[in-house]
Amino acid sequence: MVRAALSSPKRFSQGPTRFALFVPAATVVASSLLAALPIISTGGWFPDFGYLALISWRLLRADPWPAWWAAPLGLVNDLFTGYPLGFSIALWSATMLALDLIDRRTMWRDYWIEWMVATVLIAIDGWLQWRVTRLSGADVPFAMMLPQFLISICAFPLSAWAVSRVDRWRLGR
């Protein structure tokens, strides 16, 4: 308290940034665009960056964007990553709905519960990707999805941390 009082006077211009409403959605689009990185890999071990950003935001706050925005954001992700069109639209909308239902049920949550919820969502994402891949004529063994699953789980805390930093910046705290 004393230290805070002695420090330089607070800036008057403090407050949310001008585009605070659109920053979360913009970061999700930027994460989807990570698929354009010039990484040429012969194994799909990298996490689904767009989905990680989406669930990080949604677990951090209940209202990062109006819930229906998940559909257009998913469309952008599908187009940039080359997933079959409609996959992320349906999955991301369903995720928003599922997390709203979870929000109503849970009495309290902490970091571990959020990580667990994220793990379940990432697992569902991976499993559905595998199913859709099989349906579209490429029946890869499920074991091939496991490295991506583990890496995504480990990447979630990083993504959650980055998102919380962006959130603080956008709200001007």
């Binding site: 665009l33 698929a35 354009a36 990185l37 010039p38 990484i39 040429i40 890999s41 012969t42 194994g43 799909g44 071990w45 990298f46 996490p47 689904d48 960056f49 209940a62 209202d63 109006p66 819930a67 229906w68 998940a70 559909a71 998913g74 187009l79 940039f80 990553t81 080359g82 997933y83 079959p84 069109l85 409609g86 996959f87 992320s88 639209i89 349906a90 999955l91 991301w92 909308s93 369903a94 928003m96 709905l97 709203d100 929000d103 109503r104 990707q129 595998w130 859709v132 891949t133 349906l135 579209s136 004529g137 490429a138 029946d139 890869v140 063994p141 091939m144 999805m145 991506q148």
Partner: protein, 290 residues
Amino acid sequence: MATARPGWSRRAQYGLFFSFLAVIAGIVIGLILLAVSIISPKSFEGIRGAALDVTGPVASALHEVAATAEGLVTGADDYWDAARQNGELKRERRALMQRMVEARAIAQENQQLRAALQLRQHSRDAVATGRIVGSSFNSPRRFAILSAGAKDGIRESMPVRSADGLVGRIIDVGQLASRVLLVSDRASIVPARLLRGGIPVIAQGRGDGTVEVRPLEVGRNPFKPGDLIITSGTGGLYPPRVPVARVVKLKDDGAIALPLADPATTSFAIVEPPYEPAAVAAENEPATEP
């Protein structure tokens, strides 16, 4: 849908209800689009191509940056090591001169033999060349992004090869970039044959950067580690005699092979027209011809 209980405000209650409906609509639309894109993968060509035109140039630019940075690092390293490299290069040059003379002699002999056999050199025009600038590194599918598109004359289902061997075929085309289905994708099937003996085989991707090769005729496993697989030209899409893969491991009914053209180290990829376009067209559209 911010909070579970919007309170007594009618407006807030309606807002909650309508956003719930909007999300349900999003799920339904997504599922319909997904079903359409699984049943007929070509339905969203236009929009997918447009998206490629956004990501393709970004990937190309980033690829250039990465290559430049790498070049600077190795350049500095080379400078540091100049004297030793100089000596080594001189030695190499001497050895290469000898090899070149030998090669010239062989080429001459080859020409004479060809003339004797009246063999026609089957040269094929490349449609376009491009760099491989990206890949589907977060998906179980094996796609690569090529920095050339419809503007350069690329059309769907054209074979792509590099100096080392077959890379794959084009599946999505944008104006500036295109997407390549690599031979290591599970959905990629290449009619091929064994270089040694010419036994017809099928090379199917495994999704993890390798391909699985199986003989067409059931019987003894014809593969040996180190065997080369080349395209057979059957089906009319891929040109014949393009190297595909090298066998690394034997299995019960076939073998696992490593593609010779590694997309990560391929500097230039060459797009060629389909080998026999008529055959490919007939195969793709059997329904239109009654």
